[in-house]
């Protein structure tokens, strides 16, 4: 039986004022798979993602990571085991690229030489030249910054990887390059990955499974290969509205 790395059990989230962002979400993500959370802006996909590393605490229901309830976990230890990649990377502007990439190790109290070596290794992994390590984030292009963000998320070798619109701020060409790199990375380093996107093409390119959200509910949950032929109304509507053919 495959292990269930991330599990959502009847997760709901209501903000102050009563607006419900997530309604009764139940979903099991098996270890080593990549699941795309697809949906339009405001569908709750980012909020759902952020319950996994406890940046959002559900109002009701449970989120389990590696079988442990997030609500009961030591939140710092939990987060150190989860990689988090966001749009525009969110690099620390006052730190060198190397320090950004090595931050997870720095927090774990690893010696400087080990951190530098790991950072260099990670930068190679994401296809950046060695001399980037000593630069500051402002000296990099958007694509390079996003690669650094990815390197930072992977440096502690987390089991779970969360990606929130990781390619959203990039031009189409850079986007395609980095997407291809991510796909390769995920094939080599097996992670349980959740990726939030509104881009169907991206979801199909990267994920094994596509979960469609609408107004805080799961309206479709399909293997990636079944999406285009799906008879599910919501998915058919999403495909019809956004699919422009196999661009990948």
């Amino acid at each position: 039986m495959a292990t269930q790395e991330v599990e959502f059990a009847q997760v709901s989230f209501t903000v102050e004022g009563g607006r419900q962002l997530l309604s009764d979400i139940s979903l099991t993500v098996e270890a080593g798979t990549t699941t795309a959370l697809l949906g339009r802006s405001g569908s709750g996909k980012t909020t759902l993602l952020r319950t996994v590393n406890a940046l959002v605490r559900p109002t009701s229901g449970r989120v389990l990571v590696g079988g442990q309830d997030v609500a009961e976990a030591d939140v710092i230890a939990l987060r150190r085991g989860i990689g988090y990649v966001i749009q525009e990377a969110g690099l620390f502007p006052h730190m060198s690229v190397e320090r950004n990439v090595g931050m997870a190790l720095e927090l774990a109290g690893k010696p400087k030489t080990e951190i530098a070596a790991r950072a260099a290794e990670m930068l190679r992994w994401v296809g950046l030249p060695e001399d980037v390590a000593k630069r500051q984030p402002w000296q990099l292009s958007g694509g390079q910054r996003q690669r650094v963000g990815l390197a930072r998320a992977l440096a502690s070798d987390p089991k779970v990887l969360l990606m929130d619109e990781p390619f959203g701020a990039l031009d189409p060409l850079t986007r395609a390059e980095i997407r291809a790199m991510v796909r390769e990375l995920l094939e080599v380093a097996v992670k349980t990955t959740l990726i939030v996107t509104h881009d169907l093409d991206e979801a199909l390119y990267l994920a094994d499974r596509v979960v469609l959200l609408e107004a805080g509910r799961i309206v479709a949950d399909l293997a990636a290969g079944d999406v285009l032929e799906s008879t599910n109304d919501a998915m058919r509507a999403y495909v019809a509205a956004t699919w422009r053919g196999d661009a990948a």
Binding site: N53, L55, R80, Y84, E88, G90, F92, M103, R152
Partner: protein, 209 residues
């Protein structure tokens, strides 16, 4: 001019030293209170409004009145310098407190999120991310406070705490403009120097994005 300096030079030097001492002591106290308190306010949001309001009111009390009001306070009233330092600390507090608070609050929430997601403790986030990114704003507060302090410290002479205000008050009393300038010019130069030096440090601390 030469004669004037000959007559007052030693006095100007001594009073300048006193002035610097009053200002520096007050700044030290204000920073020791304002920085941690400002940080605390970012952690306890509910306290921020009332505490900043109190500091704001403190700032609006006319300095001469504040010195006068503190005069009968036991312990403080005993020594003029002690009283002056306490009053100056009060004036320096608001800019330091406010800039520390707004500087930290002004850190990009995305970076706060990322810090948390990386598994930073509150203290690690403060030291590694928030303080370095807020540093130039915090320093701007220290700079404003210092310049204010140098200015207000001239009033301290009114309660006998010394400083360059002494020359100004004596000059005013004896209608001697030379004496007024002998106090005012060094005081202005002190303020400009402090402003310039701290301005340079502030620039160095600014983070390029």
């Amino acid at each position: 001019m030469r004669e004037f300096l000959h007559q007052y030079g030693a006095q100007i030097a001594r009073l300048t030293f006193e002035h610097v001492w009053l200002t520096a002591s007050a700044m030290l106290f204000a920073a020791a209170i304002g920085l941690p308190l400002g940080i605390l306010l970012t952690r306890k949001q509910g306290l921020a409004r009332p505490v900043l309001a109190v500091a704001n009111v403190l700032q609006t009390i006319p300095s001469l009145a504040l010195f006068g009001l503190l005069l009968p306070v036991p312990f403080l009233g005993d020594r003029a310098a002690r009283l002056a330092i306490v009053a100056l600390t009060g004036y320096a507090l608001l800019p330091i407190l406010r800039n520390t608070y707004t500087g930290i609050r002004g850190v990009d929430p995305v970076l706060v999120d990322v810090s948390n997601a990386l598994g930073m403790s509150d203290l690690q986030r403060l030291v590694k991310v928030e303080l370095p990114l807020a540093a130039s704003v915090i320093l701007a507060g220290l700079r404003t406070a210092t310049v204010t302090c140098v200015g207000v410290a001239t009033i301290a002479a009114a309660v006998g705490a010394g400083g360059l205000g002494e020359l100004i008050f004596r000059g005013v009393a004896s209608v001697d403009n030379g004496l007024v300038l002998a106090g005012a010019i060094p005081a202005a130069l002190l303020a400009l120097c402090a402003d310039g030096v701290l301005g340079l440090v502030e620039k160095r601390l600014a983070v390029r994005r």
